[in-house]
């Protein structure tokens, strides 16, 4: 065995790829429709506001990794004690499970829309839980490497889809900017918060990611690329569907279907969509992976397999029950529970650096 290897599980490049190529996919499914229904042609403004909030939590994560090599658990344990650390990890477990629900339901509905001409049963979606259960048994090194894969799986299909849809877009529909009251943009921020809550997904990577020189700049560029991808897609989406946008579920699967050459060669755009779907599969599994990891750390479990299996059986039962209550679950999240996302994805990452200050005061340094 080539020993290592004191290399971190996730390196700066992989962190950047996570930000640039994995996170944007979360905003391609239902977020465009929700943004358009709340902010109409101004949908780019709430998206930008949400992304800025996310940028702050990414910056907080980088600051933490710059200041300490410790894992989040060790950081909390050092500052507040073991039991508080365990409690926070239980809370994070709960949050990640809670945050995994919408991507899961989105994926289910999206799979029915994009992968089937027929009317599939819920059992057609069940194998996803096998994949997810398998992913949850893997460590953060695999998460980092999946980010590397996302570079190939994201860039080409994304560019292809945009190129195919450019001809059918009317970009003037995005003008004038600020045509809607700012209040509607704020409402759109709240409604789509579950889709812009990726800041929290980085927290458990603390300790597995070691800050390298120049990482802040690279992460900044990656974040800018992520913002660009998101805004580009939203702009294309609204320009293609304009006033119909609020009704277009999973537009991402059909935005390129109006490309004239497709009549001759078939829906090859769907192949690009399917490739991007692999990225979405990785994204949908990420909160579950983090939930399993946090739980195992909180209860000091070495093997993740059993917990992962139990969790996924539970999730499958949940999907079976709430499959037909999709709209109700969505309404619950976007109308009542969105503050939880603000708390965990935006506020919590900004609070964790305070633990460093407390530790320093205790230790009497600086």
């Amino acid at each position: 065995m080539i020993k290592d290897y004191k290399l971190p599980a996730v390196n700066t490049r992989q962190l950047c790829f996570l930000i640039a190529f994995l996170f944007p996919i979360a905003r391609f499914l239902e977020a465009p429709r929700l943004l358009a229904s709340a902010a109409k042609g101004d949908l780019l403004i709430p998206a930008l506001l949400s992304l800025l909030l996310q940028g702050a939590s990414i910056a907080a994560f980088l600051f933490l990794s710059y200041k300490t090599d410790k894992t989040l658990f060790q950081l909390i344990e050092n500052a507040l004690g073991k039991w508080v650390a365990k409690a926070v990890y239980f809370l994070l477990t709960a949050y990640y499970l809670f945050a995994a629900v919408l991507p899961l339901l989105d994926l289910e509905k999206f799979s029915y829309a994009a992968f089937f001409d027929t009317a599939p049963t819920t059992f057609s979606f069940a194998p996803f839980f096998l994949l997810s259960a398998f992913l949850c048994t893997k460590n953060f090194k695999a998460v980092g490497r999946s980010a590397d894969l996302c570079l190939f799986l994201f860039l080409l299909p994304f560019a292809g889809i945009l190129l195919m849809s450019i001809g059918s877009g009317d970009f003037s529909s995005l003008l004038p900017v600020f045509s809607e009251p700012f209040k509607s943009s704020l409402k759109a921020v709240a409604v789509t918060k579950p889709h812009f809550a990726d800041g929290a997904l980085l927290l458990p990577l603390l300790g597995s990611y070691k800050y390298e020189k120049g990482a802040a700049k690279k992460a900044g560029v990656a974040f800018a690329v992520s913002v660009l991808f998101t805004l580009l897609f939203l702009a294309f989406f609204y320009s293609v569907y304009t006033t119909l946008s609020p009704r277009e579920h999973y537009a991402f699967a059909k935005i390129a279907q109006y490309f004239p050459a497709l009549a001759v060669v078939g829906r090859i755009d769907l192949i690009l969509v399917y490739l991007l779907s692999i990225v979405y599969l990785f994204y949908a599994c990420l909160p579950l992976q983090l939930a399993v990891d946090c739980f195992c750390k909180a209860v000091n479990l070495e093997k993740k397999g059993l917990y992962s299996a139990v969790l996924h059986i539970g999730l499958f039962v949940f999907v079976l029950f709430f499959n037909s209550r999709y709209d109700a679950v969505y309404a619950l999240y976007s109308q009542y529970l969105y503050p939880l996302f603000f708390l965990f994805a935006d506020l919590l990452p900004l609070l964790f650096p305070l633990l460093l200050i407390k530790k320093k005061t205790k230790a009497g340094t600086k």
């Binding site: 065995m1 080539i2 020993k3 290592d4 290897y5 390196n11 490049r13 992989q14 799979s111 992968f115 089937f116 001409d117 027929t118 599939p120 057609s124 979606f125 194998p127 996803f128 096998l130 994949l131 398998f134 992913l135 893997k138 460590n139 090194k141 695999a142 980092g144 490497r145 999946s146 590397d148 894969l149 570079l151 190939f152 009549a263 001759v264 060669v265 078939g266 829906r267 090859i268 769907l270 192949i271 399917y274 779907s277 692999i278 599969l281 990785f282």
Partner: protein, 477 residues
């Protein structure tokens, strides 16, 4: 097992001449004394040796054979004799002389049938360890080349050569591999594939964790990259570690043609393999779950052809693939002349008849044939690819394109999370090793490949020095 002619000329004749000399009392007393003192425990007997007995020294002086070893342990002597060497025992001498007159039947060095090259060397390894080591040494005339000889197999006592370039290969890797081989406890080791199975980190994986080659030039090049090689006596297939999936899409010939051509070949192989893995599954899933994926004209043509078929598309593709695999298996096992006619019967007569009889549709046969051919562009990937193709077909037939995507994601994640001897199989793509992409799918020119691949963590990185210190690229020539 022994070369009798050599034994007669270089051993028996000189020995008989010693006897003649001794009979003539030509050996001096001082020689006899020296010889007697040189043997542990044999002093008494040898000193007691008088007329008619011969000393070890005299024997060694008179024997003309170049490879003679002295052995005193009965166990070692038995081992050497079982290896095919001759043993010379002399009355009064307690040391056995092992004469390396082993003469084992070996085939001649020829081009390996599974690794044919249009350009480049055509030599292939054979079943003899010494010949293989010589073929390697011929290409790497460096004192840094080490071939550590290990033995495994309780009954076969097979020689295993651990080959590496000292100062280049990562010592951690070599030590780990050596330990693994030393721990092999098996009855017989007839082939290197046994070693692969016994040292593989993932025993139940359908993916290889050890690279294989039958060509000494490829083997030498891999050692020069920093890998460790394993030669097993009795096997023409050499092993190389660590293994990356990327290797299966490379050919020795890529390094003997222009980098542009090599890149095109590699791209072709990747595309062909992807097609062969996914095409049957894709066809079935479009027929059953997502017809939109095909253009309308093609959908209508397929629908027209399949109207009166007795099987569903998934069953039909399954059957055709099964026939294909059966024909392939049979044509490999059959004698060559029968195999050729069998291929013709299988491909033309059986296919044509099945379509005419209305059992199978033409598109399915075309798709399976394309898939079958495509996989052979990467011969080392055939085993894994064949299994994957079946899996994807079954998944696509039951779950459609969504199942196919799930299976692809599962495969990818499995590959990125599985390390083989410290190296992920999908490297240099995941994890992305920018430096090593120069010899990934895109092949750079030799001048750009001036450093060994980083993924093997070689001790010495420089592979090619074309510039003097301070000289700019444009200053050369």
């Amino acid at each position: 097992m022994v070369n009798k002619g050599l034994l007669g000329d270089l051993i028996a004749r000189p020995v008989s001449s010693i006897r003649l000399k001794e009979d003539d009392s030509t050996s001096t007393p001082s020689e006899e004394k020296e010889a007697g003192q040189g043997q542990m425990g044999g002093k008494k007997r040898q000193n007691a040796g008088g007329r008619g007995e011969v000393s070890l020294k005299i024997l060694r002086q008179n024997l003309l054979f170049p490879e003679i070893k002295e052995k005193t342990s009965l166990q070692e002597i038995v081992k050497e004799v079982l290896d095919g060497n001759a043993l010379l025992l002399a009355d009064g001498v307690q040391t056995g002389l092992i004469i390396g007159a082993k003469f084992l039947p070996v085939r001649t060095v020829s081009e390996p049938p599974a690794d044919v090259a249009v350009k480049g060397p055509r030599e292939g390894f054979i079943e003899d360890f010494k010949t293989n080591a010589t073929l390697l040494r011929k290409r790497l005339k460096s004192p840094a080349l080490r071939i550590d000889t290990l033995r495994a197999g309780k009954r076969s006592d097979t020689v295993i050569g651990l080959c590496y370039l000292d100062g280049i290969c990562n010592p951690d890797l070599r030590e780990a591999l050596q330990k693994k081989i030393e721990h092999i406890d098996v009855d017989i080791l007839p082939d290197s594939s046994y070693v692969t199975a016994l040292i593989a980190p993932r025993k139940h994986s359908i993916f290889k964790s050890v690279g294989t080659t039958e060509k000494p030039d490829v083997f030498a090049a891999k050692l020069a990259e920093g890998r460790v090689g394993v030669l097993v006596d009795g096997s023409p297939i050499a092993l190389t570690l660590p293994y990356s999936l990327n290797e299966d899409f490379q050919s020795g010939e890529d390094y003997f043609v222009s980098p542009f051509m090599a890149t095109i070949f590699r791209l072709l192989r990747v595309v062909a393999v992807l097609f062969s893995l996914f095409l049957p599954a894709f066809y079935v899933s479009t027929q059953l779950f997502k017809m939109q994926l095909l253009p309308l004209g093609l959908t209508l043509t397929i629908a027209k052809g399949g109207q009166e078929l007795p099987f569903s598309p998934s069953m039909e593709t399954f059957v055709v693939l099964l026939i294909f695999e059966t024909l392939r298996e049979a044509s490999i096992r059959m004698p060559k002349y029968v195999g050729t006619s069998l291929s013709i019967v299988g491909a033309l007569v059986l296919g044509e008849a099945a379509v005419s009889a209305g059992f199978l549709s033409t598109p399915t046969i075309i798709i399976v044939a394309l898939s079958g051919i495509g996989l052979y562009t990467a011969p080392n990937f055939v085993e894994t690819g064949s299994i994957l193709r079946w899996l994807y077909l079954i998944v696509a037939g039951s779950l459609g394109p969504f199942g196919l995507i799930l299976a692809a994601a599962f495969t990818l994640y499995y590959l990125i999370s599985a390390d083989s001897f410290g190296m992920p199989p999908l490297a240099p793509f995941a994890p992305l090793v920018k430096h090593d992409l120069k010899d990934g799918i895109v092949k750079y020119g030799m001048e750009q490949l001036d450093e060994r691949p980083n993924i093997y963590r070689p001790q010495n990185k420089t592979r090619l020095r074309t510039r003097q210190k301070g000289e700019r690229r444009d200053q050369r020539l």
